[in-house]
Symmetry: C2
Subunit: 294 residues, 2 copies
């Protein structure tokens, strides 16, 4: 069955531009947001629903983009939730970043209700959402992924990475690599500064070699500018690293670098205001760890 | 004084193509290598000297490209060494990767003998040496760097990063970031595999987002192929990480991720044949650390 009518639940910083891009691609979109006002700002291009049940009533696909697994569970299975209100056979696509085992549980419960599910978290931030260039990591039945591909392509570049939960697992892999790489760049730039190098020149020259990364480019520049305005908040990076370590433990794995980065972000988040800094503020944690203050 | 005549000492895997590129740019090059035969292979484009003293006798610049700091010290200050044999005022350029404090010591001793010194280690490997696209990190007096710039540009892209020793420090920063990033990618791909993801698809999709890096691209592919043929050997990565940790300690710094990667490479190097594997074999260490064997 072709997907034409979309319910989009959660129109925050990420969700609002995603819903706009879906509408621009010709899909028929109804939006709803828990906090009033955010959905209304989209009224020029989409239908603003009066509630979850109204939004999903005639939807072929129900997209959620909210803060965490608990918020998705509420939208799906709370009183007047989408699982009950949607017509049988609707495709539920959760693009929030949540724990893989919760995504698998959602898929199982929706399956019992006759619905399909794709976990499809994203990477690329607000800029990627606006530019429709999000990296989309999908865990699903392959046939459902194929059905949803045109919808995904209105928001970015989708990749099928495995069965239910695999999309969320891939996002945790992404965030583990991001967190550790931010730590690596922090250590490198601090070492440069304390060993007589010009950190600006070092970042510039390293970008031509094996040490180069998107993190060195973007977060390295933030560190040099001491610009801790998010971007990606410490709070969100910590949530993902906690989920990554938990997923690793559930799989019987010890990941020393990921755990070390998780611990650094835990300590950074307990600093006054620390949770709301950009995740490149790992450098601030490292400086404090070394008794340096500015 | 313009630099025209070059002595190039150490024509191994890196040195040989670097000497060729210098000659191709129009410099007058004399080469010497401790192990016979390697220098002779360059006889079509350069003069093969009979010894260190012969190579450096009329050189404006003396380039060294050897395995470690001890080998550079021998070439400079050993019996019949270059410091004594070169004419007064020669520019000594060490492109080997050695400890920053040894480079500073060389610069001081050469200065007493009336010579100038640039520490200018490189990143980019054999492929970069052949393509004349090496990243060159230079620590020097700025005037000496300016004199040497055309010479450096025949081998790659030079950047002035600070005073004596700063080039070597920047190389350690590079290697610390490389080592930790290889660890991050190893942890990510193992987590992907053990949480139901297709690691090939995960690497591919992550390359579009914040987790992307030259390491994910090149070393990530080596990990998927389980291709441990160097490339960059564990032995060399370990040498640089030991020097990075030592330089950090000398600067009063604790760098937890760099130290964790150093420890992993130490253990990997003690494995039979481990020291000669490509540094992407960090994944093998991680698998063994987790009780997984293939």
């Amino acid at each position: 069955m072709e997907i034409a009518r979309i319910a989009f639940l959660g129109t925050g910083i990420m969700g609002a531009p995603m819903a706009r891009n879906i509408a621009a691609a010709g899909f028929d979109v109804a939006v709803w947001n828990r906090t009033g006002g955010k959905a209304e700002a989209l009224a020029d291009v989409v239908r603003v629903a009066t509630g979850v049940a109204d939004a999903v009533a005639d939807a072929d696909a129900v997209i959620t983009m909210v803060a965490d697994g608990g918020a998705v569970t509420d939208l799906y299975f709370g009183t007047g939730g989408a699982a009950e209100a949607a017509r049988r056979g609707a495709l539920f696509i959760d693009m929030s970043s949540i724990a893989p085992e919760i995504a698998r549980d959602h898929a199982a419960r929706l399956g019992e209700a006759g619905h399909a599910h794709i976990d499809a978290p994203v990477s690329g931030g607000e800029a990627g959402a606006i530019a429709a260039s999000l990296v989309i990591m999908a865990g699903a039945e392959e046939a459902d992924f194929a059905r949803a591909r045109p919808l995904f392509e209105s928001m970015g570049r989708p990749t099928f990475v495995g069965g239910h939960g695999a999309g969320q697992a891939a996002k945790l892999v992404n965030q583990a690599i991001v967190g550790v790489t931010i730590g690596a760049v922090s250590e490198g730039l601090l070492l440069a500064e304390k060993t007589g190098c010009d950190p600006v020149a070092v970042r510039e020259t390293l970008m031509g070699g094996f040490a180069t990364s998107r993190i060195l480019e973007l977060h390295g520049q933030r560190m040099l500018d001491r610009n801790w305005t998010p971007g990606g908040a410490v709070r969100m990076q910590l949530k993902d690293l906690e989920n990554a370590v938990a997923a690793a433990e559930a799989a019987g794995l010890t990941l020393p670098l990921t755990e070390a980065a998780r611990t650094a972000y835990r300590e950074l988040a307990t600093r006054p205001g620390g949770a709301e800094l950009d995740h490149s503020a790992y450098l601030v944690w490292l400086e404090e760890r070394n008794g340096l203050f500015r």
